[in-house]
């Protein structure tokens, strides 16, 4: 097996185990820590897939920004460790739904409609990464969506401030 494949499988396993621990651990702080582990593993997978810029953005925004936001919210809310809140009463039903959704998509995969020629190509342009290509695509072909995304972030920021204000 190629070393790259080995690295991918190891990273994917760590990410999946950490993701399971996110929803399994009782303490919310533990969930947040496992979430940052998942984000780092996914960022490493992005590097493997030659998406270096997206990997850097993932680490900056998710591991840097969103995790701090989560920790702030956890500290502000400051609930104790509630006993027995891990799983709701209808956990069996929810598990059934989750497993059947997963099984359905796995079945589509296994029928082979997607498997035709789905082998990753060798990188076209090595050398220097892909940031130039990404920048050209982002600022030339997708300039309007880019600006709309910045307006969306502004609106989200204003909305968050208004919602979290002390008095209405």
């Amino acid at each position: 097996m190629a070393p790259e494949a080995v690295v991918f499988y190891v990273l994917a396993s760590i990410a999946l185990i950490a993701a399971v621990m996110v929803i399994w651990s009782r303490s919310v702080i533990h969930s947040a820590i496992y979430l940052v582990l998942t984000f780092f593993c996914v960022a490493a997978v992005y590097v493997l897939l030659r998406a270096e810029f997206v990997a850097v953005v993932q680490v900056l925004v998710y591991a840097g920004g969103i995790l701090v936001l989560f920790l702030f919210a956890i500290m502000l809310v400051n609930l104790g460790d509630p006993g027995g809140s891990r799983v709701r009463l209808h956990a069996t039903l929810s598990g059934f739904i989750g497993v059947s959704v997963g099984g359905m998509i796995l079945y589509v995969y296994s029928t082979g409609r997607l498997a035709s020629a789905l082998v990753v190509n060798p990188p076209a342009a090595a050398g220097g990464g892909n940031i130039q290509l990404l920048g050209a695509a982002l600022y030339r072909d997708y300039l309007l969506p880019f600006e709309i995304a910045s307006i969306l972030l502004l609106v989200a920021m204003i909305g968050a401030i208004v919602l979290a204000r002390q008095k209405y």
Binding site: A15, A19, V28, A51, F70, F72, G95, G102, Y109, V120
Partner: protein, 101 residues
């Protein structure tokens, strides 16, 4: 580097399923938001995998957009959780049934 795209898709599928399970089973609103982040990450992995497979930058562009939208979403979501905690003194979604006549 033979990592087949189908394996990456199965990875993202499993991550997405874990996120769905978290949203459905947990009661804490903060953990539900974390599970939503897991699902967005899974979708992002699909974008990047197909961008690499097709040698096309559009997937990575939309990956960046997804991350921006996720940041905005989590900011507003946590603000909602804070407002909920201020008004109802709980973050457990089971206990928020104000509109349930």
């Amino acid at each position: 580097m033979p990592v087949p795209v189908s394996h990456i898709l199965v990875f993202s599928l499993l991550l997405f399923s874990i996120g769905v399970l978290g949203v459905l089973t947990r009661r804490n609103a903060i953990v539900i938001l974390m599970s939503i982040e897991l699902m967005m990450n899974a979708a992002n992995i699909n974008f990047i995998a197909f961008s690499q497979r097709l040698q096309n930058m559009v997937g990575q562009v939309f990956g960046v957009f997804t991350i921006a939208v996720a940041a905005g979403e989590v900011a507003v979501g946590l603000a909602v959780v804070l407002a909920l905690f201020r008004n109802r003194d709980t973050v457990y979604v089971d206990e928020v049934h104000v509109m349930k006549g």
